[in-house]
Symmetry: C2
Subunit: 221 residues, 2 copies
C-alpha cells in the first residue's frame, strides 16, 4: 500500500531506541556529575550510563547493517526525547535515582513491546538490552533507604515519578501521531489503530505502577 | 623505612588513575552533550567516554581486590583532577576534540610510565587500558579536516593544547608533592627524587609534542 521502503517501521523503532539510549547515557552522566553525593554513588550512576551507551552501540550497528544512516534514523525523535529530558531534569540526587529507575524501566517495557513485532535478529538485540534489566536496582535500594530515614520525602518523589510518566506518555503520543509506520509496527503490524496505541500506553502505565511500589512509592489518592 | 602499608603507592596509583577515568568519562559526556555539532559526532565522543568508564571499572575492581576502598583511594586526587577540568573546559567542539585527544594521550603516557613499576596483575590492567589507544583517533581526523578548511584556527588550538598541558603539569607537581609514596613508585621505586619526577614530566611533555604534530598543530615559536 505504501511506497516507503519496507523497513521504515523497523528503522524508526531502532532510531527511537538508539536516540533514547544515547541521550539517556548523556543525561545520566550529567546527573552523576551534578548530583551524586559521593564518589561511590557517582560511579554507580555512571555505570548505568555506560550500559546505556552499550545499548546505543548495538542499535546503531544494527541500523548500519540494515543500510540505514543511524543519524537520519534518530533525527525524527530528537525533539520529543530532548523535551522529555528538559521537562524531567532532576533537582536532587533522589529525583535523579527515581528518574534513572523509572526511565530505564519505561525503556525496558518499550523494548519488550517492540520485541513482539520485529525480525529475529533485531529481537536478539532487544533481548540483549533486556539482560541488563537488573542494572538500575541500586537506585531502588538507595531510594528505599532514604524513605526509611525520612518517610516525608515519599510524597514529593511520588509526584515526581508521576510527572515523568505523564511527560513520557505525552511525548509518546506525539511520536505515535507523527510516525505512523512506527505506531503500526508496535500494534501487531496491523492497521494503525489509536485505540491499540492507547492500550499499549495503558500497559506501560501499569508496569510503571509496579515500579513505584518497588521503590516504596505508592500512588497518591 | 616507612610504616605505611606496602601497597600505599599502588593504591595511590590505581586511585589517581581510577578518578582520572571516572571524571574523564563524565567530562567527555558533558562535552558530547554540550558541543557536538551532529548526532554522529555526539555518538563518537560518547564512545570515547564509555571506554573511559570501562577503564574506571577495571581499576576500581583491582582496588577492591587489593582490599582498598576505591572511594578512599580516589579521594586524595579529586581536587587536582577537578581543578584541571575546570581550567580546561572546552569552549567549542574543536577545543573539545583537542582536549579528548590530548587528555587521553597524557593519560596513556602516564599508564605506560606506571606499567614499568607495578606488579604483573596491575600491569595487565594497565595494558588493557593501553589497548584502547586508537580510540581517540577520530578526533585527529576531525581536527585535521577543520585545519584544512580554515588554517587560521591552528594558532588558537595550539595555544589551547599548550594551556592544557601546562595545567596538567602544574596539577601533577602538586600531586607528586602531596603523595610521596606515589612519586616514589613512579621513579623506579627508589628514593623520592624531584629531579626524576622532573624527567618523567619531560618525557610526558615530549610525547605531547608528538601528538600536537599528529593533529597538525606545530608548537608556536
Amino acid at each position: 500500500m505504501s511506497d516507503s521502503p519496507p523497513a521504515t517501521g523497523v528503522a524508526d523503532l531502532l532510531g527511537v531506541l538508539a536516540y533514547a539510549e544515547l541521550t539517556a547515557f548523556l543525561r545520566l552522566a550529567e546527573d552523576a556529575a551534578r548530583l551524586a553525593p559521593s564518589l561511590t554513588d557517582r560511579a554507580a550512576l555512571s555505570g548505568l550510563a555506560a550500559t546505556e551507551y552499550g545499548h546505543f552501540r548495538l542499535l546503531g550497528d544494527r541500523l548500519a547493517e540494515l543500510g540505514a544512516d543511524p543519524e537520519a534514523a534518530m533525527a525524527p525523535f530528537v525533539e520529543a526525547l530532548d523535551d522529555w529530558h528538559v521537562q524531567t531534569r532532576p533537582g536532587d540526587w533522589l529525583e535523579a535515582l527515581v528518574k534513572a529507575y523509572v526511565g530505564t524501566g519505561i525503556a525496558l517495557d518499550f523494548y519488550r513491546e517492540a520485541a513482539r513485532h520485529v525480525d529475529p535478529v533485531t529481537r536478539g538485540l532487544v533481548e540483549e538490552a533486556l539482560v541488563d534489566e537488573g542494572r538500575s536496582e541500586f537506585a531502588v535500594e538507595r531510594v528505599r533507604a532514604a524513605l526509611k530515614e525520612d518517610p516525608k520525602v515519599g510524597g514529593k518523589l511520588a509526584l515526581w515519578a508521576r510527572r515523568m510518566v505523564g511527560e513520557a506518555l505525552s511525548q509518546g503520543q506525539r511520536v505515535a501521531a507523527a510516525r505512523p509506520a512506527l505506531a503500526k509496527l508496535l500494534v501487531n503490524g496491523g492497521q494503525e489503530d489509536l485505540a491499540e496505541i492507547g492500550r499499549l500506553f495503558a500497559r506501560l502505565t501499569e508496569a510503571h505502577g509496579k515500579r513505584m511500589a518497588a521503590l516504596g512509592l505508592t500512588p497518591g489518592p
